[in-house]
């Protein structure tokens, strides 16, 4: 009896040691230098402002960073847990309005308020998740769309926050040359933080549980995972980062109004970026966000019409879903052709 016990523990230890060597090996082949270099380059980018006006470039990086944060955040729920939400811009709105109202009334700083705004969004996410995560698949997606509609109705008619006209925030006192910098660094930091967190989540026991849920929820439940708690927490977490983004974005634009946050196109972008890049991967949402923002800018610059923009987004989405459901990163990884610098998982 004790012999077998000893054997078992010996086997377990051997497996642990083996796993450890595997992990070290994976860490050695991992190109951690790439995201770090990228980050340093982007941090240094504003130095260009000494030589001329590169505000447009900074704006584009800022915009991309905000989408990276939102898409990575969406990925925690949609990619890892497999619950597709088409209403995540509600938390973008909650974060933006929470910080924006405090900025407008008390002159506080939206950037400093971002973590708090994230927490508020996460609380709402937790409460909403308790209701909507009772159903899965199509019903959940429907409820998330309804959420956007409810939020739009409420914010459009809520006098305290300015109704459909929204609220104007005090503009920054910095000179034009440096006005974008605080928001630039804040958004960059939020994006990096979100990506780092989603990496950490994916490699934690929590992330493993979420992935089990996305594969088969009933079996996950039977295996002892508290699926309800996992799902709702994932929902709250993914609301948190989106809320933070909203807080900075609102102050950056210097006005908040429902038509900025609560349009279905923003929710669609979050989903599309993840699908385009690769749902459930770490690098996927980042790549998707970069590609889609670039495409969008090009499209608006050449065509100009928002209707054609919607049409184009729809076409890309349909093509992606039909031909590359695993996205760029996912498809390349399946073929074993993923370049090392993009293997962030």
């Amino acid at each position: 009896m004790s012999d077998t016990m000893q054997e078992t523990s010996a086997v377990l230890e051997a497996r642990k040691a083996y796993n450890e060597t595997l992990r070290i090996k994976a860490d050695q082949t991992r190109a951690t230098w790439f995201p770090i270099t990228l980050m340093i380059l982007l941090m240094a980018l504003p130095l260009l402002q000494f030589t001329g006006n590169y505000n447009y470039m900074l704006h584009m990086v800022l915009l991309t960073a905000s989408y990276v944060a939102m898409a990575s955040s969406w990925n925690i729920l949609g990619g890892f847990a497999g619950y597709i939400s088409l209403g995540h811009n509600v938390f973008f709105c909650i974060g933006g309005y929470f910080a924006g109202m405090l900025v407008a009334r008390y002159g506080w700083s939206g950037i400093a308020l971002a973590p708090l705004a994230g927490l508020v969004a996460a609380l709402f996410g937790y409460a909403i998740g308790l209701i909507t995560l009772r159903v899965r698949g199509p019903s959940f997606i429907i409820s998330s769309i309804a959420l956007v509609m409810i939020a739009r109705l409420l914010f459009d008619h809520w006098k305290f926050v300015g109704g459909a006209n929204g609220v104007t925030l005090p503009p920054t006192e910095l000179s034009v040359q440096w006005a974008k910098l605080p928001y630039y660094y804040a958004m960059l930091f939020i994006a990096a933080f979100t990506v780092w967190c989603s990496y950490k989540i994916k490699h934690s026991k929590f992330g493993l549980g979420l992935r089990a849920i996305s594969k088969d929820e009933i079996k996950a439940e039977a295996a002892g995972i508290d699926t309800r708690f996992y799902k709702v927490t994932a929902f709250a977490l993914s609301a948190f980062f989106v809320g933070m983004t909203g807080a900075v974005w609102g102050e950056y634009l210097t006005y908040i109004r429902p038509s900025i946050f609560l349009v279905i196109l923003i929710a669609a972008y979050m989903v599309l970026m993840c699908i385009l890049g690769g749902k459930g991967t770490i690098a996927g949402p980042v790549i998707g966000a970069i590609l889609l923002t670039a495409f969008n800018e090009f499209f608006v610059a050449t065509m100009g019409a928002s209707e054609l923009n919607i049409l184009g987004t729809g076409v890309i989405m349909a093509v992606c879903l039909m031909f590359f459901p695993h996205g760029i990163v996912g498809t390349l990884a399946r073929k074993g052709k993923l370049p090392k610098i993009l293997n962030w998982d």
Binding site: I84, R134, S143, I145, A146, M149, I150, G314, V315, M322
Partner: protein, 292 residues
Amino acid sequence: MDQIIQVAVLGIGLGGVFALMGSGLSLVFGVMRIVNLAHPSLIIGGAYIAYWGFKLYGIDPLIMLPVCAVILAVTGILFYKVFFERDAKSATYSEMTVLLTFAIAMIVEGALGAAFSNTQRVTSPVYATDAFFIGDVFIPKGQLYAGIVSIVIIGLLAAFLKYSRLGYAIRATTQNREAAALLGVNVNMVGLMSFAIGIGLAGAAGALTSFVFSFFPAKHWEWVAVLMSLVVMGGMGSILGTVIAAFSLSIVAAFVGTWIGSTWSTMTFFLALFLVLLFRPQGLFGEKPELV
């Protein structure tokens, strides 16, 4: 008292139109397990056909209705062939198709918006602004006709599902796809036909919509949530449930609109959706996989 009857009458009129809109959606979900988020955008497509038919040739929307239905049914067949026939066996089919229909909705909205711009339009045949009076109760003719036509179409649909051979096959496929296939039902054909019928119903609903509501391409997001709340409340795939949900919620919405404020009447549908998810996630008729 008169006011209560008045509001209820208005609610019933709208309920008929919503029931017609929702029944196509429900049929497609029942047979194909596709949650068609593009349904409302196709309704708006149908409304545009009726609108231009009236504007350019002076054809009454009620006469245009079959034309709209046929054009949309053909579009439905086309969409089915292009988008949905390819990977019906994949495990995440139902989730993927939701996103795919979301993409289609954006495509349709973008195309309509680019072609006709985002101005509000409404077809205005004479009866659209006319009304009957029964005592003090005022019945707008437009809504009355739309409601009656809707109910007739839903009745025809019910009879078709109950008595025709294709109707048998559709009901069998809804109940159990594998068993139906084993018994010799060509489930792919049934899927295609029900998709065409469902989208055709969207076209018919569009023709009615064109004179009941003002519409513009982006309006379908509002309806998507309203119609989906009907389908979820009725129990996904149950046409009877959808129709009952449509009438009851429309009447409640009419009262909310009168007593609390017209902006909040659509809120009724969304709140009902959340209440249903909270207390009865499978919907009113969810566990009975039976049609009509």
